[in-house]
């Protein structure tokens, strides 16, 4: 069984002062995976860049560099893709039965097969993820002795969904896990970061996945087009199963309702777009539109 989607991700910056140069890198092209294929993809930058360069990064993500060197006051970056997804969410009951301590031990001793570097990298702190005392204290009740890692994943996701409130705009790119726990509210990236921090604090590899989740209209309603959004979740490493994707925001394992863009140690490795501009004054307004619909729907944008 597979699902095929049409995906549009459009980022628009409007500046208050003319910009003479705009250099950016975007990670909005879905990568190919055993259970996901990017059938077609195109990236359009307006104004037309003088230079673009596609690059597959350290993590295998598909990124694109652009440099716009004509003066402009509005920049629009649009990625369009058709993606086929065959992903089936794992049944937690059938996941390999390894106690979390055993997994941590195997990571520490290197008994991890061919993936040593990726696994070791995923237990280290990173730009946005720190294993602090507060994180340890929050996570402690879940990490009971001998508990299977699969269970730990289920419970962490469930606790995040139930203990923390989703509040749009409540955090920024600089919010730490300690601040998130203190305020009890955040967004999907924060939830992913918290779960990653909890796992790494126990020597368990975890990485950050950037992507989308398909939303469906309420029964009898038309889908509101372009109102989809970026999403983020966690991939944890489990011997025998590899990287298992868990979405703490929705308290579920990732299936064919999701499209993966790419992954990294945390948000810093895979922001949808980052850039610098040459301009006299700061000041810009940013709008993002995302549309993820079954392939063949009326085109959006």
């Amino acid at each position: 069984m597979s699902r095929t989607y049409d995906l549009v991700h459009r980022t628009r910056y409007v500046y208050t002062a003319p910009v003479t140069g705009s250099y950016g890198r975007t990670t909005t092209t879905p990568r190919d995976l055993p259970d996901q294929r990017c059938l077609t993809t195109a990236l359009v930058v307006d104004p037309e860049p003088a230079d673009t360069a596609a690059h597959t990064d350290w993590f295998g993500n598909r990124t694109t560099y652009y440099a716009v060197t004509t003066p402009h006051t509005e920049l629009v970056v649009t990625a369009r893709s058709r993606v086929e997804v065959t992903r089936v969410a794992p049944d937690p009951a059938t996941l390999p039965d390894h106690a979390w301590e055993t997994v941590a031990e195997r990571v520490a001793t290197g008994a991890v097969g061919t993936d040593l570097l990726a696994v070791r990298e995923a237990v280290l702190p990173s730009a946005h993820v720190a294993t602090t005392d507060a994180v340890r204290a929050w996570a402690a009740p879940t990490f009971t002795a001998g508990r299977p890692l699969a269970e730990v994943l289920v419970e962490l996701a469930h606790r995040i969904r139930t203990e923390l409130a989703y509040r749009s705009g409540s955090t920024t790119v600089r919010t730490t896990q300690d601040e998130l726990l203190a305020q009890g509210a955040g967004v999907c990236q924060d939830f992913a970061h918290l779960m990653i921090a909890a796992l790494r604090a126990h020597g368990l590899p975890a990485r950050y996945v950037s992507g989308y989740i398909e939303t469906r209209p309420r029964p009898g309603r038309e889908k509101l087009r372009g109102a989809d959004a970026s999403h983020a979740w966690v991939a944890a490493w489990l011997p025998g199963a590899g990287w298992v994707d868990v979405d703490p925001t929705n308290d579920r394992f990732v299936d064919d309702q999701y499209v993966v863009l790419g992954w990294g140690r945390d948000y810093d490795d895979v922001p949808p777009l980052r850039g610098v501009i040459f301009t006299e004054r700061s000041g810009s307004s940013l709008t993002v539109e995302v549309d993820l619909v079954p392939a063949g729907s009326d085109p959006f944008l």
């Binding site: 230079d51 350290w58 967004v187 939303t215 469906r216 922001p271 850039g275 993002v288 995302v290």
Partner: protein
């Protein structure tokens, strides 16, 4: 007996392991062995050394050699102890082999880490060592330099261990500093220790720099036609090692550029030149890699070039050392080099490292935790040498806290056993940190020895009683042909305490590798070849036989660069150098003239002389007159009443209020003073060192010294009293003026008439023109009784260096305003006149290209002023005195000139010095709130 660094002569042969043989007595020598001198009586005595130290300080100041950014009064002077470290050739050859092997090994490791990564395994090099290091840049994975090597330039810090052998304590592979200092130290020491220097046959430093130049050419991108520029990317004039960077650039003949001088277009790197964009092939960077690109590396860096990583990945530019090379600086690596050498090179490591443990290994961690009080702990995630903890300085609580930190993140810590000939030597971020790290406190406060604690280096290490206690030798190696060329010598640093760090006051020493102690050869002098705008020049004194010629020829075996290297930023610095130097000179002349009048007339305020004095005080030095006293408005126009002194210049008793003339000379914190203008000149000069003759720095240093000497001198008498106003003034002003004239001489006689010189000259001309018009407005507009005016106008002529000419022409008659105006405004043969300045300005400006807006407005303003000058009817307007005693028409015309000259200066900056717009980061999508919230059970949001 052993020495901190120098070789020690021994009766017995060297041991088989390359270490020094048996010991002679105990303890540590602090003096090199001079036994090789033909006549032992030539060995420098303490008196000779003391004189040499003074001479060295002077030479260093004259050359503007600084360390530690912009500080006043010599706090930033580079400290050099001229008594050299002397190492004999046999010992050095072994060291050379060890260092070359080490460089080869590090290069092989670097190639592997950004390539196949076969070495990354718990058996060879634990992955955490690399993956957790901030210098491992995933963004440049897979990128290779053209040619065989990745590691082009490397430095290794060495100490002697207790048995006298050499031992590496750290490798500097990011952007090693100190080679420029080493060359400068050699230049100075060869002069101040000429007596012994000439008897020695000392290995030269030149081959190293030639090898570096060759290496830079060798890594040009494959796509290059060989014509692109090679530039040195500096971390900026505020950097601790700004001198080292600028000096290296001038030695190698490379333009010194900042990130904002470069731009990426079409996937290539370009230099913003005055004539347009010039392609860049190779960037020798002195900026830490993560600051090099605000797009793909550290967001928010204003020192880098957006898109540089893209250009590097595309193979369009070669960065040296490559981005990511600092991963080799991880102190944990020292632990693994021996086994890596066996696997990679199939050789044993020749040069041992200080015993090092990486706490990520369980056994090592256990060992370290039991010996915290004897080890130096180094965090692996900091920059090199920063954040070090000296275990023996911690109390029990401190050790417990450290233990907890290590146990929480064991992989983040390395322990090193301090080695040293007589006690621990700790190598702390010596000439580091590079780049903006210098803006943050490098080592965290609690980790530095407390002031006054035992072992705290205080003051000049070499002067401390008992001599230096610790020393580190920084060696340099550069990829060359099949292997590496090691600098024959290096940069030694000595300290009174165990911590050796230039930032903490360690003194440098030159390192002499003695070729053959038994056969003194003919004296040769080694002088750096400094390229000034494409012309090779020598500097120094004495004999110039020997290596100099060889060097100046070979330095250019690759051909001179065809690039101008003149960026708008450079143009701006030269322009301001000209302006500030002229401003200093103008202020000096004003102070001389006013000071003389003060001495003559301050006791008789109601005499014509006293009234002239008051008028001059109010119009020429308003800033020196107590608050509210100034009758001159900010634009210099004066509304002085005819009768009596201007308000504020006299006190209630009718006596003249003492003006703060000395402050106007000495206070370097207040803009417009002589000292402040000199300081700004020196800063501007330092920022364009690669464009100037080294001779330009001597006068600036001497001026600052003269001002400093006077500032420190306590003058008798209360400052508010008459004679104290000018105490020490005239003598100091004369010394300052001498220096300024020397500087003017260097710029007029010592520089090629290229665009750079044009900006320097234009700056001087606009400044002089503005000053002239302003002083005329303040002094000549107001008509006064003839005896008063005669004295005022004579001073005006003196201020503008035209009194002699006027007297000669007027044959002894009193000074008249009309004649004065003709001479100072209209006479094109008078180099002090306004007409002359405008003429020169026009020549200068038409000879330089513009980068910003069109020059129409600039030319318009200049032409207007020229017309105003030509149309000025000097004698009639001088005679047109109105009822209020003012020459109204003159005031109008001078005012027309004045504002146009101000506007002209602004316009020149807009046309020629348009800097790139600032770089800003785009708002992050996260912050824009574009995020998916949780869905309900049906998958709807």
């Amino acid at each position: 007996m052993t020495d901190l660094l120098s070789s020690v002569p021994l009766a017995g042969a060297d041991g088989p392991d390359g270490r020094r043989g048996g010991r002679r007595g105990g303890g540590v020598a602090h003096r090199p062995d001079w036994g090789w001198l033909e006549d032992p009586a030539d060995a420098p005595t303490p008196e000779v050394l003391a004189r040499a130290r003074e001479a060295a300080d002077r030479l260093l100041a004259d050359h503007g050699v600084t360390y530690g950014g912009d500080r006043r009064d010599g706090d930033d002077a580079w400290r050099l102890d001229p008594e050299p470290v002397i190492v004999d050739e046999g010992e050095w050859q072994r060291l050379d082999r060890g260092l070359a092997q080490r460089a080869l090994l590090l290069d092989a490791v670097l190639q592997d880490l950004y390539g196949p990564r076969r070495l990354l395994s718990d058996r060879l090099l634990p992955p955490h060592v690399v993956l957790a290091h901030p210098g491992f840049l995933r963004e440049v994975d897979g990128v290779r330099l053209p040619g065989r090597r990745e590691l082009v330039l490397t430095a290794t810090d060495l100490v002697r261990d207790a048995s006298g052998g050499w031992c590496a304590v750290a490798d500097r592979t990011q952007a090693p500093s100190g080679a420029g200092y080493a060359m400068e130290d050699r230049r100075v020491v060869s002069q101040v220790m000429a007596g012994v220097y000439r008897q020695a046959s000392i290995a030269r430093l030149g081959p190293f720099f030639r090898a570096l130049r060759t290496a830079l050419h060798a890594v040009r991108p494959a796509s290059s036609d060989g014509a692109g520029a090679i530039v040195l990317l500096t971390s900026g004039e505020a950097s601790e090692t700004a001198f080292d960077q600028a000096y290296l650039a001038s030695m190698l003949g490379l333009p010194l550029v900042e990130g904002s001088d470069l731009v990426v277009r079409g996937g290539r790197v370009w230099l913003h030149g005055l004539d347009g964009l010039e392609r860049v092939d190779v960037v020798l960077r002195r900026l830490d890699a993560d600051w090099c690109d605000p797009l793909d590396l550290r967001a928010g860096s204003r020192l880098g070039v957006p898109g540089l990583v893209r250009a590097v990945r595309g193979g369009a530019v070669s960065v040296v050392n490559p981005l990511g090379s600092s991963v080799l600086e991880s102190p944990a690596l020292l632990r693994y080099l021996p086994r890596l050498a066996r696997v990679v090179l199939d050789e044993d490591l020749l040069l041992p490292s200080a015993p090092t443990w990486w706490c990520g290994e369980e056994a090592a961690r256990a060992h370290v935790l039991t010996r915290l009080d004897r080890l130096t702990l180094l965090p692996t995630t900091h920059g090199p040498g920063s954040g070090a903890v000296l275990g023996w300085q911690l109390d029990a609580a401190g050790r417990a806290a450290l233990r907890a930190r290590i146990e929480a993140e064991p992989w983040a810590w390395v322990a090193q056993e301090p080695v040293g000939p007589s006690g621990p030597v700790v190598d702390l971020a010596a000439a580091e940190p590079e780049g903006p790290d210098a803006l943050v406190p490098p080592p965290t406060g609690d980790l530095l020895p407390a002031p006054g604690a035992p072992g705290t280096p205080g003051g000049r290490a070499a002067d401390a009683a008992g001599g230096p206690a610790a020393a580190v030798l920084r060696t340099f190696a550069v990829a060359h042909h099949e292997g590496y060329t090691v600098m024959a010598g290096g940069l030694a640093r000595v300290s009174a305490g165990p911590v050796v760090s230039s930032a903490l006051g360690a003194a440098a020493k030159d390192v002499w590798v003695l070729a053959n102690p038994d056969a003194a050869r003919p004296p040769t002098q080694e002088m750096p070849v400094v390229t000034v705008t494409g012309v090779a020049r020598r500097d120094g004194t004495g004999d110039d036989r020997g290596g100099t010629v060889e060097m100046s020829v070979e330095m250019f075996d690759e051909g001179p660069q065809r690039v101008t290297g003149l960026s708008p930023r450079t143009a701006e610095n030269l322009w301001w150098l000209g302006r500030y130097a002229e401003r200093a000179e103008d202020t000096v002349r004003v102070l001389r003239a006013v000071g003389d009048r003060w001495d003559d007339y301050h006791r008789t305020p109601w005499s014509p002389g006293g009234r002239a004095l008051a008028a001059l005080l109010a119009s020429l030095v308003p800033a020196a007159v107590p608050a509210g006293a100034s009758a001159g408005t900010s634009d210099g126009t004066s509304v002085v009443p005819v009768a009596g002194p201007p308000p504020g210049t006299v006190d209630a008793d009718g006596r003249l209020v003492a003006p703060r003339l000395r402050d106007l000379m000495l206070d370097d914190r207040t803009p417009g003073t002589v000292a402040a203008s000199v300081r700004r000149s020196a800063r501007a000069a330092g920022a364009v060192r690669d464009q100037l003759s080294p001779d330009a720095f001597g006068p600036l240093a001497r001026i600052e010294r003269a001002l400093r000497d006077e500032r420190l001198r306590v003058r008798p008498g209360s400052p508010g009293q008459g004679p104290a106003v000018t105490a020490g003034l005239r003598g100091t002003l004369d010394r300052v003026l001498e220096g300024l004239l020397a500087l003017a001489g260097v710029s007029s006689e010592g520089l090629v008439r290229d665009s750079g010189w044009r900006f320097l000259d234009a700056g001087r001309r606009i400044e002089r023109a503005q000053h002239l018009v302003t002083t005329l407005l303040g002094t000549v507009v107001q008509a006064r009784p003839p005896q008063v005016d005669d004295l005022v106008l004579e001073s005006v002529l003196l201020v503008h260096e035209s009194a002699m000419t006027y007297r000669r022409r007027q044959q002894g008659r009193g000074v008249e305003a009309g004649g004065l105006l003709e001479l100072l405004v209209q006479d094109r043969t008078n180099p002090r006149s306004l007409a002359y300045q405008l003429h020169r300005l026009r020549d200068d400006l038409t000879a330089v290209p513009g980068t910003g807006r069109a020059p129409d407005q600039r030319d318009h303003l200049l032409a207007d002023v020229v017309d105003l000058v030509e149309e000025l009817e000097a004698v009639p307007v001088a005679a047109a005195v109105e009822d209020d005693g003012r020459r109204g028409r003159l005031a109008e015309q001078l005012e027309s000139m004045r504002w146009r000259l101000l506007a002209l200066a602004d316009e020149v900056e807009r046309v020629h010095m348009a800097r790139p717009l600032p770089v800003r980061s785009l708002e992050d999508p996260w912050d824009a709130g574009d995020l998916r919230g949780p869905l309900d059970g049906r998958g709807t949001p």
